[in-house]
């Protein structure tokens, strides 16, 4: 990405979004540089398949552009809104995916990988995690991924999921228990030999 001169340094996402809505194309570029990597990372962690993650990231950003003119200032943070959109788009894909995923769809190792074998194992684990998320009820999958993959706090997750903290705690606990049980059944193939 060709980095923009830092015209918008320090400006909140919301201010950039309003500038874009008022016709400032540079604000859109600045927002893309700022938000797209995070959006793509969230989608990749949940889906483990690069093509699907990119599709979700693109769709989420396009929805943000469309929302810009009607954005209600001070009501929600742009980041919160995007977490919600990406989370929903990912669970839609996970729901459709329950039939299974072919191995050639799994993301290729990157150049910086320590070794091909190690990278393949990591990819297999990420794919197993994504498949396990697909097996969970959608709200549990969202809560677990926001808590344990994105590292968000329970109040933040409650706002994203439009619920209360107690409900988030319950969803996260149940989801994590179910995930642990699913992953335990695959620990040998994922390289976790019992000591």
């Amino acid at each position: 990405m060709n980095a923009m001169p830092d015209l918008f340094a320090g400006a909140p996402d919301e201010a950039l979004l309003i500038a874009f809505a008022n016709g400032d194309a540079q604000a859109a570029q600045a927002l893309t540089e700022r938000l797209l990597p995070r959006v793509l990372a969230q989608a990749t962690r949940m889906l483990a398949i690069q093509a699907e993650a990119e599709e979700v990231a693109q769709e989420a950003m396009i929805r943000l552009w469309k929302q810009a003119p009607d954005w209600r200032q001070g009501e929600a943070q742009v980041s919160t809104w995007l977490y919600r959109v990406v989370s929903n788009l990912c669970t839609d894909i996970l729901r459709k995916r329950r039939g299974g995923v072919s191995l050639d769809q799994i993301a290729e190792p990157t150049d910086s990988a320590p070794s091909v074998v190690q990278q393949m194992q990591t990819n297999a684990r990420m794919q197993a995690l994504s498949d396990a998320l697909a097996a969970l009820p959608e709200r549990q999958a969202q809560a677990v991924s926001l808590r344990h993959l994105e590292g968000l706090s329970n109040p933040e997750i409650a706002e994203i999921m439009d619920t209360n903290v107690r409900s988030v705690e319950s969803l996260t606990a149940r989801g994590k228990r179910a995930l642990a049980a699913i992953m335990a059944g695959r620990k040998a193939e994922l390289g976790y030999d019992d000591d």
Partner: protein, 119 residues
């Protein structure tokens, strides 16, 4: 209990690996996102379709329903004026009194004035 802890450790390890996943957006993805960044118009700013003068007058009067009532009332008013029913005549007579004619000029004076102009 020990097995549950072990399973939790495996899951925590996988979570930790997942958190390090941070792909760089490809140039192609950035281009696709930016291609969609055309400023849309808000619902409030969207122009309403142009309407003809007749349509605007119709809207001003309240639409076809209101105008049809207005036309009926006008026709009825004109008809009553041209050919008032007896009951209406009685009513107006009662309300406004009987019709009377008042001459503002003395007829003799008018004739006298005629003689004056004729010489």
């Amino acid at each position: 209990m020990m097995m549950t802890d072990r399973n939790d450790d495996i899951l925590e390890d996988i979570f930790a690996q997942a958190r390090t996943v941070a792909p760089t957006p490809s140039d192609d993805l950035i281009a696709r996102v930016m291609a969609g960044a055309t400023v849309p118009q808000s619902a409030a700013a969207r122009p309403t379709p142009r309407r003809s003068l007749g349509q605007q007058v119709l809207d001003l009067l309240g639409g076809w329903t209101a105008v049809s009532g207005l036309v009926t009332a006008t026709c009825a008013g004109v008809w009553i004026g041209v050919s008032p029913p007896e009951s209406v005549q009685d009513y107006t007579a009662t309300y406004f009194g009987d019709e009377i004619s008042v001459s503002l000029f003395n007829e003799d004076a008018i004739f006298a004035a005629g003689d004056f102009f004729d010489g």
